[in-house]
Symmetry: C2
Subunit: 155 residues, 2 copies
């Protein structure tokens, strides 16, 4: 019997779930769909124990990847950047100077670390704060289904 | 018909829920039951848009308040400290140099601001990071009920 309490996830969201599970094993906590700047929305942002920030874009198909025009705009918001794709994905399409994660809905594995390009301290402070507020709002919505979010709330 | 998807909350947790709803109106996002240091656990920690940190301890009764020996240990972890109590609580019991919030399960109101004692930058950075990791773990657990948290994970 299907469990109607579980949301129906799209292919990219299933990859994101596996990625988030795996990153926790690296001691990175995660949020999904964070907006680092207006007009941008990252699939997964990870926060490590010392404040390291990783971004992972999840691509469920060749078409999904080819339609992405924005990924280079995410680089200034993270220390390392990764793609997450499933085992069938033609990985030769992906730029070499990026990280690579093979994922399914249940787990993932980092095949290639994204090269490190450290955030400046002020940018890191801003991103950790943004991450914290995004995560806390989602957590509050989950623990209080009756929550009404005020209009104009900045996250 | 009772909704079995909603957890049964204790009196203090119901106050915390109202407090968290109200703080969102002040643009403070919140987490519950964060551990700022071993042996300590705050009822509500709020994070403002500029990184301000508030702690709110929720007391559902006189006995609940009188049994609390730890509240002064929370002061080094926040910019402002508050008590949250219901409308029946004998507020004369509460120390004067603290903030006061009157709450119920649905909302709250700040009657007296806690005096400000600003965190040092290094402590604030640590607390925002801790807040972020706590919130993200709770948010991940909510969006992924199948999540298994690795043993020994630091938050």
């Amino acid at each position: 019997m299907p469990d109607d309490r579980l949301p129906i996830l799209q292919p990219g969201q299933l990859l994101a779930r596996g990625v988030c599970r795996h990153l926790l094993g690296h001691d990175f906590v995660t949020v999904e769909e964070l907006v680092p700047a207006p007009g941008l929305r990252v699939d997964v942002m990870g926060l490590g124990p010392k404040g390291d920030i990783w971004v992972v874009e999840c691509k469920s198909s060749r078409a999904d990847f080819l339609s992405d025009q924005k990924w280079q705009n995410y680089l200034p918001f993270c220390d390392r950047y990764f793609w997450a794709v499933d085992a069938e994905f033609p990985v030769d399409l992906l730029p070499e100077e990026t990280g690579l994660i093979i994922a399914d809905a249940y787990d993932a594995e980092i095949l290639r670390m994204g090269p490190e390009d450290r955030l400046a301290p002020a940018r890191r402070k801003l991103m950790v704060q943004k991450f914290a507020r995004h995560a806390a709002l989602r957590s509050q919505a989950a623990r209080d289904p009756g929550l009404v979010t005020p209009r104009g709330l900045r996250v």
